[in-house]
């Protein structure tokens, strides 16, 4: 059934204005939740990307032997052309960290502390070969990649991103269901008027354009309201979070492309909802034949 998307101006008032309609509220809530979930997903993906970038080419050094072993390991690393920078964690900082866990008594305990450090490799530097050579020459030293240490976290975050994507799909399905119900409710609420229009020769396409215009306007209004509410909530939530996360390298940055997609979400929802409503109406009109 081919129908103009919207009816001509002279026909628009043929359906009555109904003050209390559920569709804008339902769509508004769905849009609100979708945007919040979508931004959360983007933030998670962005965090995965930031962490992966940060971890790439960075290795941690641990020497459990004597200070001489630690010095030898550090010298070997500094001499390697693959290494850009070696930073030892000062022993005082290690003890301070330890005392945070064990209390003031930590200073009195004669605990053997490993020498720890952070090694940054040059681009293209072969970390695995370097780690093998280091262990061969200084058996008490271990060089492990950050990515190995972060792997469980990254894997969890990726799982979370997948969960968010799944939630968005569920929300889209729920929206489609809600719009289908709203379309049928609009049809039922106006059945008497539509029957008269049918009786005077209106085509299904004309009736379809009348009802789907109503649904499209409802969906657009709901989407816009939901989007505005989501933006307000996100700004209110993210501004304090930026300060909170500053110590961790700042809040995750959201990719511009992702934000643009999110900005389009209400519009995409409106278009999809209109198409879903159109399909539901076509079916309902055909069933009523």
């Amino acid at each position: 059934m081919n129908a103009a998307l919207f009816p001509p101006a002279s026909m628009r008032r043929l359906l009555p204005d109904q003050k209390r309609r559920a569709a804008p509220w339902i769509v508004g809530l769905m849009t609100f939740v979708s945007l919040i979930v979508g931004v959360t997903g983007l933030a998670v993906l962005s965090a995965v990307s930031d962490l992966s970038t940060t971890a790439a080419g960075r290795w941690s050094l641990q020497v459990t032997g004597t200070p001489a072993d630690a010095a030898r390991a550090e010298a070997l690393l500094r001499a390697s052309p693959a290494v850009e920078r070696v930073e030892r964690v000062p022993e005082a900082e290690l003890r301070r960290t330890l005392s945070a866990w064990l209390g003031p008594a930590a200073d009195q305990l004669d605990l053997p502390l490993p020498a720890l450090g952070q090694v940054s490799l040059r681009s293209g530097g072969d970390g695995a070969a370097l780690a093998a050579r280091l262990t061969r020459e200084v058996p008490a030293a271990r060089l492990t990649p950050y990515t190995a240490e972060l792997a469980p976290l990254l894997s969890t975050l990726r799982g979370l991103a997948l969960l968010v994507a799944g939630l968005l799909i569920v929300l889209a399905a729920a929206l489609a269901g809600a719009v289908t119900l709203a379309a049928r409710a609009t049809l039922d609420a106006n059945r008497a008027t539509l029957a008269v229009l049918h009786g005077v020769g209106a085509t299904d396409a004309q009736l379809l354009s009348l009802v789907q215009r109503r649904i499209a306007l409802d969906v657009l209004a709901g989407s816009a309201a939901g989007a505005v509410a989501a933006v307000v909530v996100l700004i209110a939530a993210l501004v304090p979070a930026r300060g909170l996360l500053a110590g961790w390298g700042g809040a995750p940055s959201l990719a511009l492309g992702g934000l643009a997609l999110l900005a389009l979400l209400p519009l995409v929802q409106a278009v999809l909802a209109t198409l879903v409503a159109r399909r539901a109406l076509q079916k309902a009109l055909a069933e009523g034949s």
Partner: protein, 230 residues
């Protein structure tokens, strides 16, 4: 042809009926005889459950759903319960068939005002149905049915809510349309109307069957028949 609703008994059985183009027909019969069902077949709100229905020379009983609106635009209908659109003014109700046919507001204005004047509602053009009396609503319904100069006019008790003078005026409107070539079918219990239209034919429906399917019976009907039809 026959018609049944759902799995019930046939409300119309073995109807064999031919309406001559340009004819004027009155359909009478006791309440529950199936007059409204027969009218529904004529204005394409129902399809026969058996047999053939040909309208304007075409078989519409089996026509696809998409083809029906074009036929309906050639038919004017006056419903017994008026079926006006409550939120639209009298003007907009009368204008409905023209709007559906794609005419714009400029083209519609003149004919609708003229038709409203004809049915005596020129000063009620902006009134909505709930504020109109039963008789006024009936006149709006009639104006809507005839505004597009239909080829077939089907009216179910069109004068049931108007006084004798207005009923006479409306029947003359139908006659005028009939003279222009419109086939008119009026279901009524009002036997005085039947006598008012010269050359009109009467069909009597009882128990789902036409007792005078040829339409040859001229009005006024015999006294005994008129008693049964009232």
């Amino acid at each position: 042809m026959g018609l049944r609703y759902g799995t019930g008994a046939e409300v119309l059985a073995g109807l064999d009926l031919r309406l001559a183009p340009g004819g004027f027909y009155f359909l009478t019969g006791p309440s529950g005889a199936g007059k409204t069902s027969l009218l529904k077949l004529l204005y394409l709100a129902q399809r026969p459950t058996r047999g053939r229905l040909r309208l304007f020379g075409e078989d519409v009983g089996e026509a696809p759903r998409e083809a029906l609106p074009a036929f309906r635009r050639r038919i004017g209908v006056v419903f017994q319960d008026f079926r006006l659109v409550r939120h639209l003014s009298a003007f907009d109700n009368v204008a409905l068939p023209l709007r559906i046919a794609g005419q714009d507001d400029r083209e519609i204005e003149g004919p609708v005002r003229e038709m409203l004047a004809w049915v005596g509602l020129a000063d009620r053009a902006s009134a909505r149905p709930p504020t109109l009396s039963g008789g006024e609503q009936q006149r709006v319904a009639i104006a809507r049915a005839v505004i597009a100069r239909p080829e077939l006019l089907v009216a179910d008790e069109p004068t049931g809510n108007v006084d004798a003078a207005m009923a006479n005026r409306l029947i003359h409107l139908f006659e005028a349309l009939n003279r222009l070539g419109t086939t008119v079918v009026v279901a009524t219990h009002d036997l005085s109307l039947i006598g008012a239209v010269k050359g009109a034919r009467m069909m009597r429906l009882e128990g789902g069957q036409l007792s005078d399917p040829t339409g040859e019976l001229r009005n006024p009907p015999p006294r005994s028949t008129s008693g049964a039809a009232a």
